[in-house]
Symmetry: C2
Subunit: 223 residues, 2 copies
DNA sequence: TTGTCGGCCGATCGCCGACAA
DNA sequence: TTGTCGGCGATCGGCCGACAA
């Protein structure tokens, strides 16, 4: 999966460490992000932080939900990291190279069955190719790919009074196929060559954050 | 899964050996019913028939296709089957106890989208509760369960000239949900207490019978 | 600027009797 | 007796501008 595409789907809050960079692995944080209640009390004493080297990063997308995620391989390194500095740090991401993209949280009307998609003006003017504004009802068909490379087509119109950007034909099939509901987000991206991409972000349907199952790590294994 | 229900779905051509009965296991037959090409030539010499005792039988239905099948556990017995005759033969099936049932192969019209189901007169009169024939257009709602216990409702009417039994409302959702096509069969069953059940039999969509991949068993391992 | 609503038009679904195999 | 067909009415999807937040 293309890195910029992946990054546009995660949003700017997510930062991936480059390959060969040094990171701290934080067992408690990892445990709390799983739904399994890990009892550190019964395990051998686990350090709070473990210095590691990122040996590989795989950018992936769930085949059904389109949710993007990463698989990272971490190799523990001791204080003796001699020779480590020779390794080239790959994928040094320059945030200035980020693709132009636009995200919108779906409203009830956007996700209603039998409805269209209300395109925010800024998105309609900066992400998509310009419409023929001289026409009475400017209209074009937008073709975009999702994270799996599947093609989706949307009729993009500018109509109503006051004038507004809308997706009509093609939108509802996309919503149904991706099982999107109000609160989920949609992301549009434009590559340098003008190719358009569409991604989705699910509304957090609970599970992450660890509010329900507080790890017993703090109290027993120390901090 | 209830035995009589299971039996009605398989049809009368299928006979299940009772638990604790003696059977011959026939390796070549088993191999030909799998789609894997088993090469008996490379295996240690396999007897043509292996005398076994049926130690357990599980009647099952595929969660998606509704196809019914059985899992049998066979235990090899030698010529010395002393003590075997003491075991009680369970599930001795008396074919006289078979449930009243009716099967029909779906026509194009039955499986057409937007159509109903033409109920053969015999089925409409013997399996389902009697309609109120004094009415102009006799009508009732039939409730039946499939092999998974899921409930399906069908509007059963008697109309047209000449009068005929038909399923209208409810039929198309059933066909779509079960992905039935012309050539597939439908089975109606009535339990002693009057409860109705509905089962399906898929048209053989190839694969069984071993026409494509003839086993090499005959020629090499002997008969 | 844009979320929601009601109107409305066309497509599809599905119920019907006619008819013939 | 019953498979298939064309008709047609009801329902639904989905496109529209109005309006207000």
């Amino acid at each position: 999966l293309d890195f910029k595409l992946w990054q546009a789907c995660t949003g700017s809050t997510v930062q991936m460490p480059p390959v060969n960079s040094k990171v701290y692995y934080f067992p408690q944080g990892h445990a709390e992000h799983t739904l399994i209640d890990v009892d550190f009390g019964v395990l051998p004493r686990v350090p709070a932080l473990i210095l590691c080297r990122v040996s590989s990063v795989k950018l992936l997308a769930h085949p059904e939900t389109d949710e993007v995620y990463a698989k990272m391989k971490l190799v523990r390194i001791g204080n003796d990291d001699s020779g480590y500095d020779d390794l080239e740090v790959l994928e040094k991401n320059d945030s200035a190279e980020r693709l132009p993209s636009f995200a919108k949280i779906l409203t009830q009307s956007d996700s209603n069955n039998g409805g269209g998609f209300s395109v925010p003006r800024y998105c309609g003017e900066t992400i998509f190719p310009p419409l023929d504004y001289s026409a009475d009802k400017p209209l074009q068909t937008l073709v975009m790919k999702d994270v799996h490379g599947q093609i989706w087509k949307f009729k993009h119109v500018l109509r109503g009074a006051p004038k507004r950007h809308l997706f009509t034909t093609g939108w509802s099939v996309f919503v149904n196929r991706k099982k999107l509901i109000a609160g989920d987000s949609i992301v549009f991206m434009k590559k340098e060559n003008g190719d358009l991409y569409i991604g989705t972000r699910r509304y957090k349907r609970g599970g992450i954050g660890g509010t329900a199952s507080l790890s017993r790590w703090n109290s027993i294994a120390g901090n």
